[in-house]
């Protein structure tokens, strides 16, 4: 009974929507931007809708990144997929492998005749989302990279220069000890442990995360994060955990209160965390620095890699819809729109033009530290170790890596054994992914 009632309601809604003769073409967009970011995205979409009469993009919030992907995949299986879905970076290989489901962005732009210059985008970002031939498969929207935040007040109290973030891990260790001597409980903590301390650590030191150019070269890729330098680094963190030079505070951003409360004087996390820190760090001034590097590693610092999400286009809609998608993408990539988004959110500007515009507007001068992230990803031209990564089942692989990191840092497993285990387990998944997708690429 209730179902029929709802069915009638839905049908009525559909009829009303399709009613007017000058109907605009609806383009559903599923995204994972909650909160302020969601409000901002909604207003950007509204501006696009108001800017032209033909298309109507409908943004729908679908929960967290993984929920959004799952919902889109389930919808695809039920043939109810949206035209555009926002997918986080670790889902890239999954999306790429779904050849029959995904409409590559470069192809879409060509088919619809939309002017499109892939060179206008920051190579450090597009590299992550392009195929071996350099074709862009999805449109970057929100990208970030990890940086170092530090508590200037505590630096001052410990007799350190509050304007100078430690550049190397050796300096960071010395600073942390001075800070602890001055009464700080813990030197530093980290968010997103695998992303920051393994994936970005490797890229930053120009070390491979996996074979075949971190997976860009093919499905036969295997993880290599158990190299001597990664093992040494993770082992050092385990040593530091004992004296609280480093204090682990959980996955994702669970460690944030340690920095907000002044318990830890330094904190590594996404550049996108800038506004949250600004809102929460009430009692003290904070500064932003690049990620530290080990000075004895040749080629460090290289450049950091990104996280965040991109827009993927799903097949199964009419050509008119895709024309609208192309127009929408052009709008979202334009310099003023991107510069606005970048300044609002702390995410990276995806085009060079948006960066230049932001600089000219004087934003970086007024908000010191906000340009660290972009400088860091552009520090050197990306090598095959620092272009990004592309592994199937990476959501699970990251879970495996983080579980092993937790085992190492809690002292249960030595660093070498822990990372060996992570590599072994991850490779099982990569082998499975290879089998499942053989012959499709």
């Amino acid at each position: 009974m209730r179902k029929t009632f709802i069915g009638v309601l839905a049908a009525t809604a559909l009829l009303t929507a399709a009613g007017p003769a000058f109907a605009r073409i609806d383009i559903p967009l599923w995204h994972a931007m909650g909160g302020n970011l969601g409000d901002k995205l909604n207003s950007m979409v509204k501006a696009f809708n108001d800017s032209q009469p033909e298309y109507n993009v409908i943004p729908i919030y679908k929960g967290s990144y993984s929920e959004t992907v799952t919902a889109a995949i389930a919808a695809f299986r039920a043939k109810q997929q949206p035209a555009i879905v926002q997918v986080f970076e670790v889902g890239t290989a999954t999306m790429m492998a779904a050849k029959g489901a995904v409409y590559p962005v470069f192809q879409l732009m060509k088919d619809t005749g939309e002017p499109f210059d892939p060179k206008a985008y920051l190579p450090a970002i597009t590299g992550y989302y392009s195929d071996v031939h350099g074709n862009m498969l999805s449109l970057p929207f929100n990208s970030s990279t990890p940086v170092l935040y530090y508590n200037k007040d505590e630096f001052k109290r410990a007799g350190l220069d509050p304007e100078k973030a430690p550049a190397t891990w050796t300096e960071l260790e010395a600073d942390a000890k001075k800070l602890q001597a001055a009464g700080v409980t813990c030197g530093f903590t980290t968010g997103w442990p695998s992303w920051v301390q393994v994936e970005n650590f490797s890229a930053w030191h120009n070390l491979p995360i996996g074979t075949l150019s971190n997976g860009f070269g093919g499905l036969g890729t295997r993880l290599t994060i158990n190299g001597p330098i990664q093992v040494r680094h993770i082992g050092r963190l385990a040593d530091w955990q004992k004296t609280k030079i480093f204090d682990y505070g959980g996955r994702e951003s669970a460690s944030a209160p340690k920095f907000y409360s002044g318990e830890c004087a330094m904190y590594m996390n996404s550049s996108g965390a800038y506004s949250a820190i600004k809102a929460n760090a009430k009692g003290f001034q904070f500064g932003v620095g690049m990620l530290p590097y080990w000075p004895d590693v040749k080629g460090a610092p290289q450049n950091s890699i990104i996280g965040g999400a991109t827009f993927w286009v799903l097949r199964g809609h009419s050509p008119d819809v895709y024309k609208g998608v192309a127009k929408f993408f052009t709008y979202m990539s334009s310099a003023p729109v991107q510069a606005d988004w970048h300044q609002f959110s702390g995410y990276l500007p995806i085009t060079m033009a948006a960066y230049e515009l932001t600089r000219k507007q004087g934003y970086y001068d007024k908000n010191p530290g906000t340009d660290i992230a972009i400088k860091q990803i552009n520090l050197h031209p990306p090598t095959e170790n620092s272009k990004g990564l592309r592994f199937g089942y990476f959501v699970q692989i990251r879970d495996i890596i983080e579980s092993d990191l937790e085992a190492i840092w809690s002292g249960k497993t030595p660093a070498k054994a822990g990372l060996d285990d992570a590599v072994m387990r991850s490779n099982e998944l990569l082998i499975r992914f290879e089998h499942e997708n053989e012959g499709k690429q």
Partner: protein
């Protein structure tokens, strides 16, 4: 009492008071947290006395909602929870009254088969067959609907089992008398069986309401449209926020609002509830 031992009685009271205190402590902390300002959580240790932001926090969640939970006002979520809990409780009672009636008071081919088919579901929580059930509901187009939220959870056969047990204890003379009066199956059901089962229905309602209200994983999966979020799952959205920390004062205000209705039901309808739980369930 068997004998008078004042010190034992004293210990009994002391243990009970201590137990009640321990049980209430997390709730007190939650209430205190819900009256604090956002930044007060960065002061350690947290205060154990209420702060001055009660009205501010509660009106914020009730009317505006919390951004990370899709900014649905808590009022909407409470409403959805209420609808879902009611549909589950009423739906379960209705269909199980009918099927228990059929199984006890009729003889028909496949009665045994149907009986077992239904009773297989007796103890199978939705959690253990979660992925395929989700698949089925998705392919029926029931995601983001009240029907999708509640109907799959009505499938459990617990209530049917209870009514069957109860009907079996109803004296046979009642049916004989009714048939002598010329009453058909519908009239017997409506005029005799339902009034007789009134207490059982009410007791079961309390338990099923709480069961429905407290559903978590299922609404988490089938609702991606914030307008269908229920309060218990909405809280999870508030606790897991990307690149930020939970706004504990708002989370806890929502927690308090989420637990009030079932607690009021349990405490207010205590007799009925205990009867339902202990006598029916056992």
């Amino acid at each position: 009492m068997v004998e008078h031992r004042p010190w034992l009685t004293f210990i009994a009271h002391a243990v009970l008071i201590f137990g009640a205190f321990i049980l209430a402590f997390p709730l007190w902390v939650a209430f205190v947290a819900s009256t604090q300002s956002a930044v007060s959580f960065n002061q350690i240790p947290m205060s154990l006395l209420p702060g001055g932001h009660f009205i501010e926090n509660y009106s914020a969640v009730l009317t505006r909602g919390v951004a990370s939970a899709g900014a649905v006002p808590v009022v909407t979520m409470l409403m959805n929870s209420l609808i879902m809990a009611m549909m589950i409780a009423v739906g379960k009672i209705a269909i199980s009254l009918l099927s228990a009636y059929a199984i006890v008071y009729f003889r028909f081919p496949f009665r045994k088969t149907i009986f077992w088919l239904i009773f297989i579901t007796l103890m199978l929580p939705v959690e253990v067959r979660i992925l395929p059930t989700y698949g089925v509901v998705a392919s029926l187009g029931m995601l983001n609907s009240y029907a999708g939220l509640s109907i799959p959870l009505i499938a459990s056969a617990t209530a049917t089992f209870l009514f069957r047990q109860y009907f079996l204890t109803v004296p046979e003379e009642l049916l004989e008398a009714a048939r002598l009066d010329g009453a058909g199956p519908w009239r017997f059901f409506r005029d005799i069986l339902i009034p007789l089962s009134r207490t059982n229905i009410a007791a079961l309602f309390v338990i099923l309401f709480i069961y429905g209200w407290n559903q978590y994983l299922w609404p988490l999966l089938v609702t991606t449209d914030p307008n269908y979020y229920t309060i218990v799952m909405g809280i999870q959205r508030m606790v897991t926020v990307a690149d930020a920390t939970p706004q504990w004062q708002l989370v806890m205000a929502t927690v308090i609002l989420a637990l009030l209705p079932p607690v009021i039901v349990v405490v207010g309808m205590q007799r009925l509830f205990i009867r339902g739980l202990v006598e029916i369930e056992k």
